[in-house]
């Protein structure tokens, strides 16, 4: 699904991301962990073609993301508030994203109905602009919008941050369900080792832009804990 090839991003000569090769298969729950400044967000931005790599490329479905818009149709993403249109209401925002994906109103309702529990009645149908929402609700809007357009890949940066415990649990079950039913691939970064190990079957540890460990299988949590303790 996603193939990274000798990808490097430097700022003023210092490498921020430096990955020889990494491939993420369809239906994979991919977790990215690492301490502050490890390059997690930069890697996500490189995957989404938001910054220009110094060297190398990212391919989604065999095509370089640079100079190519095809992948945007089936990749949903939410990294930060730059992905939201602050002066719209959440309803208007969802509708607009839906238009961009060629959705009819009915399709949109189906997508958003999955989020009803998560929204907890605070997002849709309210006369409130996105800019006036709380941090947690902003995150919910962004995450829901990433699921519009029946994506095959979803990229989320720190999705659990700022979410209340109920929403965290609901988001986890939603991701698991989508993965099981639709073979959704998701890329998630998090500082919370419990969350990532719970929903990811593969976890990559990033340090100073380099892949230090590529873990799969059982006992992920204990392996991660022993790594970060050191």
């Amino acid at each position: 699904m996603i193939v990274i090839d000798t990808l490097r991003k430097e700022y003023k000569g210092t490498p921020v991301v430096d990955i020889d090769s990494l491939s993420i298969g369809q239906g994979e729950g991919f977790g990215l962990v690492g301490n502050n400044g490890a390059g997690k967000t930069t890697l996500f931005r490189l995957i989404l073609d938001l910054i220009k790599p110094t060297h190398g490329e990212v391919m989604i479905e065999g095509k370089d993301v640079k100079g190519n818009d095809e992948w945007k149709k089936f990749v949903g993403s939410y990294l930060d508030e730059n992905f939201l249109i602050s002066y719209l209401t959440p309803d208007e925002y969802f509708k607009f994203v839906g238009t961009l994906h060629g959705h009819q109103d009915a399709d949109l309702i189906t997508v958003l109905s999955q989020f009803e529990e998560l929204f907890n009645g605070e997002i849709t149908g309210k006369k409130k602009y996105i800019k006036d929402l709380s941090k947690g609700n902003l995150k919910k809007v962004g995450i829901a919008a990433a699921f519009i357009g029946n994506p095959q890949v979803v990229v989320l940066d720190e999705p659990f941050e700022n979410l209340d415990p109920t929403s965290q649990i609901r988001l986890k079950s939603l991701l698991k369900k989508e993965k099981q039913e639709k073979k959704l691939t998701y890329l998630i970064s998090s500082h919370d080792l419990n969350h990532v190990t719970e929903i990811c079957d593969r976890i990559v540890i990033l340090e100073k832009g380099k892949v230090i460990k590529d873990l799969r299988g059982q006992n992920l949590l204990s392996e991660l804990e022993s790594y970060f303790k050191a």
Binding site: L48, N82, F96, Y129, K131
Partner: protein, 493 residues
């Protein structure tokens, strides 16, 4: 403590990302300030001559005293636009062991460091030293100038109070209209004359030596009032410029649905314009400037002897929204540029939507300017040529220049004298827009065919318009080339 605050304020300014980029703006504003200072000083030095020689006033001190309230009225208006609320970034200090009173004193004290607060010295000190000393002696002259200064400082604090309590409310506007209306009505119906009140008030400065003391007490009272007010409302949400909370309902323009994704983009952008203060002001300004022609069109001096100048007026009337809004064309939506890049949008559609948005507003301006036919059909013809030029050529100049090192625009801030996001491009953008029509106009008008010059302007616009698919392609290619740079600019504050 004050030293630390000052050093933090200085660091904040010089270390901001945009500091170097906004150098051009800073230099420009600096030059304007120097110019104002020089003019004020020259006027101050010449004041005696103007009053006594040119106007032949015998008691020039009383005469000037009669004008002072008018001066302070205009100072009030100037301050309204130029003076910002003292909003130091206090949030990082609130939880530290610093006395709140120290912060408030610093805030209010720092607000006093403003060129407007010494302006009265530039204007009136020379007069005080020459004329007032001559007529009333040195002590009274000092009392006179001191009183004027104290009065000016009082206006300063009143302005802070006004902006804090009443700005942006209907009450604020009503207060201003009421007060100025009262003065005008009083003058008109002869209840009292502002000049007489003013003369009586400021004559006290030379006849009653305690007057400056009274003024000082007023000033101290104002300061203390503000101090306790700030102290009691010292929470980030009180201090920061109040967010617009009100919900403005605006529904989609259904006609735009027919244009698919492009229409969707235009709908979103219309909401941007209507829901944010800074963009709304641009809209209002565009509407006001439709009246610009009323200054020039009835005057034969302009219409007969300077027909070339009218091209400038025509470009302005039909294109002011395009120019004002277009200079930040991509920056307005800088807050969600990453969104634009990750959605399945073709960049061409994005550019196309921007093109049609600014072009339709220009056409709307043209339609609204049709009543100028009253002054003659030639103005309709002029506006038509200028509209064509604006949508055929200027629109592309603007779109391409707006890509030049753009910065994110903070939509929530108000617009008067707000230079946030202004870079070199914005200052230079006006030149090609206002000068380019003359490339087509001047050669023919020099030969004596100014009407054919206008035809050439219109024709050039028409050619540009018929070629718009190619020009949009060209613009799109440039936008794609610049997208990483723009995205990283928009991400940094």
């Amino acid at each position: 403590m004050i030293g630390i605050f000052l050093s933090h304020a200085y660091k904040r300014m010089t270390r901001s990302v945009s500091f170097e980029k906004e150098m051009a703006t800073t230099v420009f504003l600096g030059l304007i300030t120097i110019m104002a200072v020089v003019y004020a000083l020259l006027l101050g030095l010449a004041l005696e001559k103007i009053l006594e020689k040119s106007l032949g006033v015998s008691d020039s001190v009383s005469f000037l005293n009669g004008l002072l309230l008018y001066y302070f009225t205009s100072e009030f208006l100037i301050r309204y636009f130029m003076q910002n609320l003292p909003v130091l970034e206090v949030q990082p200090y609130l939880h530290l062991p610093i006395r709140k009173s120290a912060i408030v004193h610093f805030l209010l004290g720092k607000s006093l460091v403003h060129i407007l607060n010494v302006f009265v010295f530039l204007l009136f000190l020379p007069f005080a030293l020459s004329v007032v000393v001559r007529d009333y002696g040195i002590v009274n002259a000092l009392s006179w100038i001191l009183s004027i200064w104290l009065f000016s400082l009082s206006v300063h604090f009143i302005m802070i109070l006004f902006k804090k309590k009443l700005d942006d409310t209907l009450w604020g506007l009503a207060t201003i209209v009421l007060v100025f209306g009262l003065f005008a009505a009083a003058d008109y119906f002869g209840w009292f004359k502002l000049s007489e009140v003013s003369a009586a008030l400021f004559n006290l400065t030379v006849t009653w030596s305690l007057f400056p003391v009274v003024l000082f007490l007023v000033l101290a009272g104002l300061y203390y009032g503000l101090y306790s007010y700030f102290l009691s409302s010292f929470y980030p949400e009180d201090l920061s410029v109040s967010k617009e909370k009100s919900f403005v309902h605006s529904s989609d323009l259904t006609i735009l649905k027919r244009f698919g994704i492009m229409g969707g983009w235009i709908n979103v952008e219309l909401k941007l314009i209507l829901r944010n203060k800074r963009t709304r002001t641009i809209l209002v300004l565009g509407a006001l400037l439709l009246l610009y022609g009323l200054i020039f069109y009835p005057e034969e001096t302009y219409t007969e002897t300077m027909p070339g100048f009218l091209v400038f007026v025509g470009i302005f009337i039909t294109g002011i929204f395009m120019i004002n809004y277009g200079q930040f064309l991509f920056s307005w939506q800088g807050g969600h540029y990453d969104f634009t890049l990750t959605q399945p949008v073709s960049m061409r559609q994005y550019v196309e939507s921007k093109y049609w948005l600014i072009s339709s507003v220009t056409i709307a301006c043209f339609l609204l300017s049709i009543p100028y036919v009253y002054f003659g059909w030639r103005f309709l013809f002029l506006h038509l040529a200028c509209t064509l030029f604006n949508i055929g050529i200027n629109s592309f100049i603007i779109m391409n220049m707006a890509m030049w090192d753009p910065k994110k625009v903070d939509l929530t801030r108000s617009s008067a004298f707000n230079y946030q996001g202004v870079g070199a491009a914005q200052w230079l953008m006006g030149f090609p827009i206002l000068l380019s029509p003359y490339i087509f106009y001047l050669p023919l008008s020099y030969l004596g065919y100014s009407n054919f010059g206008l035809v050439a302007v219109g024709l050039a616009g028409l050619i540009g318009f018929t070629m718009h698919p190619y020009l949009i392609d060209f613009t799109t290619r440039r936008l794609i080339k610049k997208k990483y740079l723009m995205a990283s600019n928009f991400r940094s504050e």
